[in-house]
Symmetry: none
Subunit: 230 residues, 2 copies
DNA sequence: CAGTTCGGTTAAAAACTTGTCACATTTCTA
DNA sequence: TAGAAATGTGACAAGTTTTTAACCGAACTG
């Protein structure tokens, strides 16, 4: 599985489904939004690695929303690929001027789309968001993809890493297993909800030697919460 | 294979292809960009040894971009050769005034181009940044292109050397195989991703006698990372 | 031009991940 | 407090990724 998450912002459900199909085949994790408003929520929750943004949308248009994204401190580094029905050069220039990273016009071939996504991801990664999340001596560094507990490196599997990364990015907030699956595994990936429990367990176990295991708290009847307060 | 990487910044794809052909034949590693914006990304990613810059480009022109480069702290030392359609003396003077290192006008012969590139590289090299990278007793000296482990010379093949040089220049950061290929082998070189693994293996083997082999760490599911922390 | 080094590829072996299950333990509620 | 519900735990089998060794042709070296 690719470990990149892509947020698709597209109002037409037919196209959304098509994109979903293509991106899933290419093994991206994905998140879907029908409009800018939904997209905002998704971004706040899951931090997508790339946004596929429809040029025209009811409400806040894709262009306007792209501007908003590129102005936001936390969102300006998320690469954007604009998707449009019109294949006009003018639009392309406009898209790039706003700060979009690439531009595809419908109809596009899936391989082309995937190739462009890969290219943008490749490009944006090294200079990418220098994330360094730390809570009470527990540090998650996105660049090195490493977790350290009071300076000591903690050994985690890929899923454990993503799980911790997700939780430490959203402290003090309860998530249901379903939500965790959506955010960490990707939407519409079918795995048992109990799988979350097992991975939580593994993560806790890995953090135990450093005394950080109780930061992932069980909220009985709901799900889990990350917090440094006991 | 030459181990110099050249960044070609040129909007016309025909000329870009021509240059690619010529430079690849001359065995340079190369990176391509269609405009200044792309070029910025490429420079951030791969640190080219020389930039071939088109005089006229849509958006930020070659001239303006050259200025930008020569003002940037990290980029001011990368030599620039301006490429232009007009063979006017005036332009040449202007180019050199900006800080470009040389100037070729279309149409140019490939041998001439190559010769100029070689000349500029030769010139810029000795005065170039005397790189001496060292981490925890492992030292890579760019000038002599030699690696020493606690003073002991380490025998490495050219590719192993470049690989180590790349990794030691970017510690604490994960790179995918694809990124490593782009940056160590050069873009648009087609080799299997597994090749990276094999060379990593060879490098580790060479470093093993000195106990430095575990500095190149596997990040399962992603790629590799260089780090002195275990 | 013979021997050596070098680089890319391949395939099999080894190492590690991961989803799920079955059972244990805890917590809640009637 | 008994029983139900929710969560924790260890083990496993399948799948995936990485390591390793071996091969081969091309490029170098003497």
């Amino acid at each position: 599985m690719q470990n990149k998450q892509i947020l698709v912002v597209e109002d037409e459900s037919a196209i959304r489904d098509m994109l979903r199909f293509a991106l899933e085949r290419a093994e991206f994790r994905l998140a879907l939004a029908a409009n800018a408003q939904e997209a905002r929520l998704r971004i706040a929750e899951a931090r997508p690695d790339l946004i596929l943004l429809d040029w025209m949308m009811p409400g806040l248009s894709g262009v306007e929303y792209a501007k908003e994204l590129k102005n936001g401190a936390t969102t300006k580094d998320i690469p954007i690929i604009m998707v449009t029905a019109r294949a006009e050069e003018e639009d392309k220039v406009r898209a790039l001027n706003i700060g979009a990273d690439d531009y595809v016009s419908k109809p596009f071939s899936f391989p082309e789309l995937i190739a462009r996504i890969q290219a943008v991801l490749r490009r944006s990664m090294p200079g990418g968001v220098e994330e360094r999340l730390a809570v009470a001596g527990l540090e998650v560094d996105a660049a090195s993809q490493r977790v350290t507990a009071r300076g000591e490196p903690v050994k985690l599997g890929p899923t454990e890493y993503r799980l911790l990364h997700f939780f430490i990015s959203h402290p003090e907030r309860v998530y249901t297993r379903e939500q965790v699956l959506d955010r960490v595994w990707g939407q519409n990936v079918y795995v048992e909800e109990r799988t979350v429990d097992v991975h939580i367990r593994r993560l806790r176990k890995a953090l135990q030697p450093y005394g950080y295991d109780n930061m992932i708290q069980t909220v009985r009847g709901t799900g889990y919460r990350f917090s440094d307060k006991v």
